[in-house]
Amino acid sequence: MTKPLFSRRALASVGVAAGIALAATAGIAWAQSVTLLNVSYDPTRELYQDFNAAFIKHWKTTSNGGDVSIRQSHGGAGKQARSVIDGLEADVVTLALAYDIDAIAEKAKLFPQDWQKRLPHNSAPYTSTIVFLVRKGNPKNIKDWNDLAKPGIEVITPNPKTSGGARWNYLAAWAYALKQPGGDEAKARELVTKIYQNVKVLDSGARGSTTTFTERGIGDVFISWENEAFLALKELGPGKYEIVVPSLSILAEPPVTLVDKVIDKRGTRKVAEAYLNYLYSSEGQEIAGKHFYRPRDPKVAEKFKDQFVKVDLITIDEVFGGWQKAQKEHFADGAIFDQIYTKR
């Protein structure tokens, strides 16, 4: 007698296992039937990790809601916008500045040009600003923007041509020089030129610059998003760095919007709308505050007021006449930023 190749018990267990596997895949398929893809910029990783978990919980409890899973994509804002233009199916985009979202509207026509009017506060549920991160004890005594232009100071900032955050940095320095007594375009250009002459490494994104400053130990001062500076302080050792807030900075409004063509095609409009609105809810605002973004909601802002130093904030619209104009005058090929490097 030869033994049967498979005993009856073995066959039965294979059957059960197959059944479980089938049920499991079906379960996954069902759970994934609603997914959102949020295409975001570099330093929001930690914020959206927390926020997504909270939203998934929240969406389960709402009447029309259910299970939703959220995928995240992070990178330099320019690269992220380009992925969406080239066909990455993002349900929502949450980028560093309006210019990159404008580019999606203009080039891929995935949503209307006036997208920024669709949500409150210029579609920016949280704001941030630009501050300095210096080494412990501030050995070079850096207090304000003009200190960055002094000889011998090493400055770290990403490349404004590739990083959204770096454009805010550049414009904040420019605005500071304009607002000084006797300040004009020529003075602003001089200050910004001197600052960039002190720049030793131009990384392509904000997170890369953080690494250069903290891990590699390059530079005396790192011009950074406020939230990124707080994060570096928290994650990489509070005893090693200090935050210096300049006398004047820029109100950075990282906006969010729905990608209409994608959500209509995928049937995710309801949940995508709820997702963005949840950013404005008090829970969403608290999570933003916890991750060192300045909340818009006055009540929540009150709670976090000790965390953020009061600073004079100018807006891009009042000083530079909006992103389109600022981009053309300062960052386009051959514009002022290129001239700083080529006309020495």
Partner: protein, 278 residues
């Protein structure tokens, strides 16, 4: 005269040529043609304005200069390495032989990050080099270091098999005929190896010109100083300037193609002249 003599000795010429052309078009020519078609939407003066701005020209100098230099360095040390691997036996030889291929296998970003960590002023090597006034990370020198690293296996792997085929008897014969050691190297060894060395040089150079991942971390990326041409292309893409990016890309393609043609011609010439000697 029979028909058979008019036929080629090897069968299948038509089939293999057809297949070669179809495959090359699909994999190489069509994607490259797309670059030129996109570029062709520019008028010549627009094209010239884009590819001749000082900032872009500075990157050509760094990209091609550093790549040629890195390939040259790799020729010297790659041949040495191949020589010791072929001609001597020593403990751990197999291990070293395998190590040579590592730059092939390592993701380039990993190579870039580790080199940067090593040569930054708080790194293992950087902390000793910086006091001597030698800055590697975030300078053009760093670009060279990264390009040498990724190009090394090409020279070793092209020279090694040729060297293995070159019997020691040739050198012994030269010696018994009264050649000095230097003459043996110059008249016997180098001419035989030269075509392989040139191939290795061309491969290492081609790889270095197109390299992005490892260089970007160590370069510092300062305009006019340490920006490489592939970074300019990426920067243009991130500003939604697709046409500008392809314009610069086409300049790179043409320049690389001409250089590789030159190297190939040189190789053919050395092969002929080495045959004349032997």
């Amino acid at each position: 005269m029979s028909a058979a003599t008019q036929r080629r000795v090897l069968p299948g010429f038509g089939l293999s040529l057809g297949f070669t052309l179809a495959y090359l078009s699909l994999i190489v020519l069509i994607p490259l043609a797309a670059v030129f078609i996109k570029t062709a939407t520019l008028s010549f003066s627009e094209f010239w304005a884009i590819v001749s701005t000082p900032r872009v020209v500075a990157t050509y100098k760094l990209s091609f200069g550093a790549s040629l230099l890195a390939a040259a360095i790799n020729v010297v040390f790659g041949v040495l390495l191949a020589w010791s691997l072929v001609r001597y036996s020593f403990p751990g030889k197999k291990l070293i032989d395998a190590l040579v291929d590592l730059p092939f296998a390592l993701p380039t970003a990993v190579a870039g990050i580790s080199l940067t960590a090593l040569y930054a002023k708080n790194g293992w090597l950087g902390q000793y080099l910086e006091p001597l006034g030698i800055k590697v990370a975030f300078t053009p020198l760093g670009v060279l270091v990264a390009l040498v690293f990724i190009g090394l296996p090409f020279v070793v792997r092209t020279v090694q098999p040729v060297l293995e085929d070159l019997d020691v008897e040739f050198e012994e014969a030269a010696a018994s005929l009264g050649a000095t050691r230097w003459q043996t190297i110059r008249r016997v060894v180098i001419p035989t190896l030269l075509p392989a060395i040139l191939t290795g040089f061309a491969l290492a150079f081609a790889r270095a010109v197109g390299e992005y991942g490892s260089v970007i971390f160590i370069a510092g990326n300062l305009p006019m100083i340490s920006e490489i041409t592939p970074l300019i292309i990426i920067t243009k893409l991130e500003q939604y300037d697709y046409v500008g990016a392809t314009a610069v890309a086409s300049v790179m393609l043409i320049a690389s193609f001409i250089l590789l043609l030159l190297i190939n011609a040189l190789q053919a010439w050395t092969r002929r002249s080495s045959r004349r000697i032997t």
